[in-house]
């Protein structure tokens, strides 16, 4: 079993957990190569570029070529990490990922930054369908990790895991939700808050949101448990079914479209098992967003603490108004979900 070590709120943040973990991996493994498509600093690969330039290649703004080159390199036995924003790593080169990476089952790790509505850049820069696209590809492991501790562990973990992987990563300041005892494993989901009448099943940036929403509901008299799902494919079926058995309702929470992502994956597991547990899906509701700040977008599209608390409250059939979170002043170096 994976260890759980959830730190108390409010959480701290750190920068470049991915870039430093990749550099550490590349120091130990000369077969590891980092490929980029411009965006070197933004994808934290300036660290490997500056220290191990022989293990870094900037392919330029050519994502289809990027995937083909990664495939050719991986066919010679190298472990290739490719980097760009999530939207450009999945939508534009989808056929190349399918035919040159996923189908041959090569050791190409696709690292996409700025998941979902965390990008202020509007629909062209917001990866709200990347999980759906990658989840549809046989052989592909799909991960959306919650914090810097998981980011660091994920790098070594996917390097050791044979075959292609798609990893979503928050850009910039990354919260530290978990302490040193926390252990990430594929495909294990983890109960990070329990017990509860309602289970919130969350991934990526919405894990912190789910924990805060659970706190808010707990204080209002509704115990809410939180299941952290860092691996969306293969999904931890047993953990999802356990959530169904021990809860009166399930809420999924993801920084992604509710079509094809975590909410869909959980619904598939529940339906195939004949579980009748009511399900609510928090996420982008089959729409495109716009160019605005991430906090505004998260509130506008119902990806905030209050939206998750509201979903849990109504799914549990609780009477009256759902509780709301008090505004938290966030100092530099601290993290509070919207």
């Amino acid at each position: 079993m994976s260890g759980v070590d959830l730190l108390p709120f409010p959480w701290t943040t750190t920068t470049k957990p991915y870039g430093s973990a990749l550099l550490e991996l590349a120091r130990a493994r000369p077969d590891v190569l980092a490929l980029g498509a411009d965006l070197t600093r933004q994808t934290e690969t300036d660290l490997i570029r500056d220290e191990l330039p022989q293990q870094f290649v900037n392919v330029g703004m050519a994502e289809q070529n990027l995937m083909g080159i990664a495939s050719g390199l991986a066919r010679t036995g190298r472990c290739v990490f490719v980097h760009t924003f999530g939207v450009f790593a999945t939508r534009r080169p989808f056929e190349q990922v399918a035919m040159q990476v996923a189908y041959p089952g090569l050791d190409v790790k696709i690292v996409g930054f700025m998941p979902g509505l965390s990008s202020p850049g509007g629909p062209s820069h917001q990866a709200v369908d990347d999980v759906a696209l990658m989840r549809a590809l046989p052989n592909m492991t799909v991960m959306d990790v919650a914090d810097a501790t998981e980011v660091r562990q994920a790098v070594a973990l996917i390097a050791e895991r044979e075959g292609p992987c798609s990893l979503r990563l928050k850009r910039g300041e990354v919260p530290v939700l978990f302490g040193s005892e926390h252990r990430l494993a594929v495909p294990d989901a983890q109960w990070i808050l329990e017990p509860g009448n309602v289970a919130v099943i969350a991934s990526g940036m919405l894990v912190a949101t789910a924990v805060r929403a659970a706190h808010v509901c707990d204080e209002a008299g509704l115990p809410v448990s939180v299941l952290n799902v860092p691996t969306l494919k293969p999904i931890d079926r047993e953990a999802v079914l356990e959530a169904a058995r021990r809860s009166s309702a399930i809420v999924t929470a993801e920084n992604h479209s509710v079509v094809g992502g975590l909410g869909s994956a959980v619904a598939e597991v529940l339906a195939e098992a004949g579980a009748a547990t009511p399900l609510r899906r928090v996420g982008v509701q089959d729409t495109y967003a716009q160019a605005s700040s991430a906090p505004w977008l998260f509130r506008e599209h119902g990806l905030d603490v209050n939206a998750v608390a509201q979903a849990a409250w109504t799914a549990a059939g609780q009477p009256g108004q759902a509780p709301t979170a008090a505004d938290v002043a966030v100092e530099p170096g601290r993290y509070a979900p919207v």
Binding site: R29, D31, L33, Q54, V57, V59, G60, A62, Q64, N65, M67, G68, I69, A70, S71, G72, L73, A74, R75, T76, G77, R78, C79, E95, Q96, M99, Q100, Y103, P104, L106, D107, A159, E160, E162
Partner: protein, 311 residues
């Protein structure tokens, strides 16, 4: 250190399954008459393979027969160099040439395109003896670039040959790869471009303008070798020059779709040929060994034609 990678990824290509394996690679030859005869046999094999279903990618085989004959018999160091087949539809030529190179048993050709076969009509990850294949057009050069980059980074004496068709120049990814290869000076990379001027909807020139082909590649920083794609001597000389270059090189090989099949004619859809009555016999007569034009079999079964096409 990493766990052991699958052996299939380490070598220059996927091995043929044991039941399909040939005698092993034949010694390379620079005998132009022998290479021309090899091209003729590739066409004859292809006629037999297309005869199995009565339709198929015959025009691709006849336009590229000399390119494959020279590459497989004179230039490619089997087991060391890498070969990427970008348009998977040309698998028919690859299989025929692999037989001629001793890499594939001739009997395997009788299974071309049949249900459950290893010799699929559009090549796949199961296709033996290629480093990578890309039925989706325009993807092969990027993979070849990755293979060439890997060899360059490792300081290995491996060359990467990519076969592509001129129609793939319509795909933007081709130019992404071209730009990268020249920028990184990938001299170990050689592109064989079959300029047959044909795409599914007809002559390329009726769809869009890809000319001037050579000038485009030259402007991207490649060494360009324009050749008559049916002249084995010209192809051999160009490939020898290309493999010695410090820059990525391209053979702009001008070809004709149904070259060598005069009796079958050129007024049909050469991109996907459907045999009419008597076509198989006429095509076999066209491709009979030059010295002793053998009479066409009166009523050959398709499988027998395929299995014995070169005999």
């Amino acid at each position: 250190m990493p766990t052991q990678r699958p052996a299939v990824l380490e070598g220059a290509c996927r091995p043929a399954p044991p039941e399909l394996a040939g005698s092993g690679p034949l010694p390379a030859t620079a005998d132009l008459a022998a290479l021309a005869a090899t091209a003729r046999r590739i066409r004859r094999h292809a006629v037999g393979m297309v005869a199995i279903a009565g339709m198929g990618y015959l025009g691709q085989a006849t336009s590229s027969a000399e390119l494959f004959a020279v590459l497989y018999r004179a230039v490619l160091r089997h087991g060391r160099d890498r070969f990427v087949l970008s348009p998977g539809h040309y698998a028919i030529t690859h299989y025929a040439a692999a037989v001629e190179a001793g890499l594939l048993a001739q009997g395997a050709l009788a299974t071309y395109g049949v249900d459950g076969t290893w010799l699929e009509s559009i090549s796949t990850e199961r296709t033996p003896l290629v480093s990578a294949t890309c039925g989706a057009l325009g993807q092969g050069l990027s993979v070849g670039v990755g293979l060439a980059l890997a060899a360059a980074l490792a300081g290995e004496d491996r060359r990467t040959f990519v076969f592509a068709s001129d129609g793939e120049m319509e795909e933007g990814q081709t130019w992404e790869a071209a730009m990268f290869a020249a920028h990184h000076g990938l001299g170990g990379l050689v592109l064989l471009l079959d300029c047959n001027g044909s795409q599914v909807d007809g002559p390329i020139g009726t769809v869009t303008t890809i000319e001037p082909v050579s000038a485009k590649w030259r402007s991207f920083g490649w060494d360009v070798h324009g050749v008559d794609g049916h002249n084995v001597g010209a192809i051999l000389a160009a490939l020898e020059a290309a493999t010695a270059s410090v820059r990525p090189s391209v053979l702009v090989a001008r070809t004709v779709m149904l070259e060598g099949l005069g009796s079958v004619g050129d007024d049909r859809d050469a991109h996907f040929v459907t045999f009419g009555p008597g076509d198989v016999e006429r095509a076999l007569a066209d491709t009979a060994p030059a010295a002793s034009a053998a009479p066409a079999p009166a009523a050959a079964s398709a499988a027998a034609v395929a299995a014995g096409a070169a005999s």
